[in-house]
């Protein structure tokens, strides 16, 4: 009997570390590469100890050359390796758009299915603590817009582990988006290396009144809001998408047709967002089933400023979610602020986050 692991708790970062380690141990073609992969910090702890276990031909740091290194990983993947690339911020990876979009996402299709690019790219989304305009962007909709890419957005330690394993096993290029505010979240994580299924959402809360579609960090904020809403007699589905492409449309449609009310949360900018896509599809395919107009909460169409003074209310948080939900239900918002206290200071996920990045 394996050691019982029902109550084993790991942080989100440790779960990523464990998934990578298990994938590397099981499959000698898996590599872990990227700036900081062998650092003392180990990319927020996610790559710690790997170079000691697997050596510097499979785990390595490298030059500050995102575009070239991405193309190199594509080449390695074409030749049968499974690179897992890490980037400390999604924003740094923008230098690699050519290799991502014109190589990684196209090679399989462009050559008539003769090739596979089993490449996993981990991108950290930095938020708060003055990360500012170029260290905080969540361009998830961009990536989901590119045919040939898969986009994974874990919200919990167990999902981080199982979705990363699935991403590594997947024969396609997969972008794995990690919100910086999740790295320290701890929860039960099974020891077994069981991959999740990409493209399957998870119902994190069940209720008949309203569907809240969330993903990544916003799932946590949604759950906080929904737990409060239940005390107000409002029962919500919280659908944690887990992958944005492929997106679990059957799950979205099923919940929307059950509740007839839809609120979509998005940690990207509103215009051109995933939330726009979800509202569009539900509205065009299930219009007659809806009891009220679908709504969205997303980031404003504004770069994220560094100043604490400007960041008040910038990020979607549980108070806003609950207020929006009550408004959809036609209920009073009067005591929301009392029950869902806005976090102080607004630019950090909790007291434990003390900078500098």
């Amino acid at each position: 009997m394996p050691e019982s692991n029902d109550d084993r708790v790991l942080t989100f970062a440790a779960a990523i570390n464990e998934a990578t380690e298990q994938a590397m141990a099981a499959d000698p073609t898996v590599l872990c590469i990227g700036l900081g992969a062998t650092d003392p910090g180990g990319v927020f702890g996610t790559t710690k100890g790997l170079v000691e276990k697997f050596g510097s031909s499979r785990v390595f740091d490298g030059p500050t050359s995102e575009n070239a290194m991405t193309g190199i990983a594509v080449g390695a993947a074409l030749a049968g390796l499974k690179p897992v690339m890490t980037h400390q911020r999604l924003d740094f990876f923008l230098l690699a758009m050519d290799q991502l979009i014109n190589s990684a996402a196209k090679w399989h299709y462009m050559f008539g299915g003769q090739f596979q690019v089993p490449l996993t790219i981990r991108l950290v989304i930095g938020r708060g603590w003055g990360q500012g305009p170029t260290h905080s962007q969540n361009l998830q909709a961009w990536f989901a817009h590119i045919p040939g890419l898969k986009v994974v957005v874990p919200s919990s330690p167990v999902d981080a582990k199982q979705l990363l394993l699935a991403s590594i096993h997947d024969p396609n290029p997969v972008l794995f988006l990690e919100h910086r505010w999740l790295h320290n979240i701890a929860d039960h994580v099974p020891v077994e290396a069981t991959p999740a299924q990409l493209g399957k959402a998870r119902l994190a809360r069940i209720g008949d009144d309203l569907t809240i579609v969330a993903s990544g960090y916003l799932t946590l904020e949604a759950i906080r809001a929904v737990d409060y809403l239940s005390t107000r007699g409002v029962a919500c589905d919280v659908l944690d998408l887990r992958t944005l492409h492929p997106l679990d449309w059957p799950a979205v449609h099923a919940s929307a047709s059950k509740t007839g009310r839809l609120l979509v949360l998005d940690s990207g900018a509103l215009t051109g967002s995933i939330s726009g896509e979800i509202v569009a599809r539900v509205a065009s395919e299930q219009f007659s089933e809806l009891r009220s107009p679908p709504r969205r909460l997303a980031q404003p169409d504004i770069p994220e400023p560094t100043s604490l003074g400007l960041i008040q209310g910038f990020h979607v948080r549980s108070q806003q979610i609950a207020s929006e939900a009550l408004d959809i239900m036609g209920l009073s918002l009067a005591d929301v602020a009392e029950h869902l206290v806005a976090p102080e200071p607004a630019d950090a996920p909790g007291d434990w986050f003390r900078g500098p990045f």
Partner: protein, 320 residues
């Protein structure tokens, strides 16, 4: 020592002391949790900035990186507005939008710093191109680190600067590290950044970047040639970052530097080196230091007293 020489020494020392004391104060106060943004200090790397400060004219341009405090100050950027920016205040040089990594003071030709490695290199080349097209007798300083020379955009930008003989000075501060990664992990041992630049058609010089005098002479010569129409040049300053990559602390306990490496660079501290090799009137040092202290205290007071930007202004500045 002639008066002219001693005044050059004094100006270099004053410039480096000012940068050092500003950053030391940032480090000392960072734990108060009021400077809520990443900060990358240049403690130990002040000499190239100081060298430029003696040569640059206000109409020259400069751009820099995440580690840009020294360059901003050396180009004449307003200290109070820089500190206010780090505090996220409306009086900041970027009105609280950008923080420590996004400093600008166009009134003195300091056209911005970027948090994305390599990002400001082509921008600096474009500024140089504008100077050339407008037939202005000025130069554009592009500060970059050794890590940035690994980005494709460095090669592409240097190529264009060489092609068009643009008045661009690439100020490459080689501190051997990109975050915790030594050059050894990133570039072949025999590689010299100056040779890469030369191969691209950009004349290049190496200088001890902890020797403020040598740095100054080199910058002065190169800038004079570029002003006279010689086209771009790269200066590689060999130097070292004494504090952690990002944040206020020492970090030698992390063990990414070779044993003894930090200690040997501490001995070569550029301020100490200049003090040891020159003759400075102790009274002058004392009064200079006191003036800088007063200026810094005033800047921090300004920053703390400046209000946060009104959240209602959030959407301003998205479009011009």
């Amino acid at each position: 020592m002639t008066t002219a020489e001693s005044s050059t020494d004094q100006r270099l020392l004053a410039s480096m002391l000012r940068i050092r004391m500003v950053e030391q104060t940032i480090a000392d106060r960072y734990s108060e949790q009021e400077m809520r943004c990443p900060v990358h200090l240049s403690i130990g790397q002040e000499a190239p900035a100081a060298a430029m400060s003696l040569v640059a004219e206000p109409a020259d341009y400069a751009v820099s990186t995440h580690r840009g405090h020294a360059h901003y100050l050396a180009k004449g950027g307003d200290l109070s507005r820089m500190i206010a920016e780090i505090y996220g205040k409306v009086g900041g040089c970027s009105r609280g939008r950008g923080g420590s990594m996004h400093l600008a003071d166009p009134s003195v030709g300091f056209m911005g710093t970027s948090a994305i490695v390599g990002n400001s290199i082509p921008v600096g080349v474009g500024l140089g191109m504008a100077l050339q097209i407008k037939a202005q007798p000025n130069v554009s300083f592009v500060f970059l680190g050794d890590g940035a020379t690994e980005e494709g955009v460095f090669y592409e930008s240097a190529n264009f600067a060489a092609l068009r003989k643009l008045p661009v000075i690439f100020m490459c501060e080689n501190n051997q590290y990109s975050v915790y990664s030594n050059l050894e992990e990133r570039q072949p041992a025999s590689r010299r950044i100056v040779e890469v630049a030369r191969a691209l058609g950009v004349p290049a010089l190496e200088v001890d970047g902890n020797d403020a005098r040598a740095s100054h002479v080199t910058v002065a010569n190169v800038v004079a040639q570029t002003r006279a129409g010689a086209g771009p040049a790269l200066i590689e300053f060999e130097t070292h970052r004494l504090r952690e990559h990002c944040g206020p602390n020492w970090d030698d306990e992390l063990g990414y530097r070779k044993p003894g490496e930090l200690a040997s660079w501490l001995k070569r501290d550029p301020i100490k080196a200049l003090l040891d090799s020159g003759t400075f009137d102790p009274e002058w040092i004392e009064s200079t230091t006191a003036d800088i202290r007063t200026e810094i205290d005033a800047a921090f007071r300004f920053a703390k007293n400046s209000p946060y930007p009104d959240p209602a202004e959030l959407a301003e500045d998205v479009y011009a």
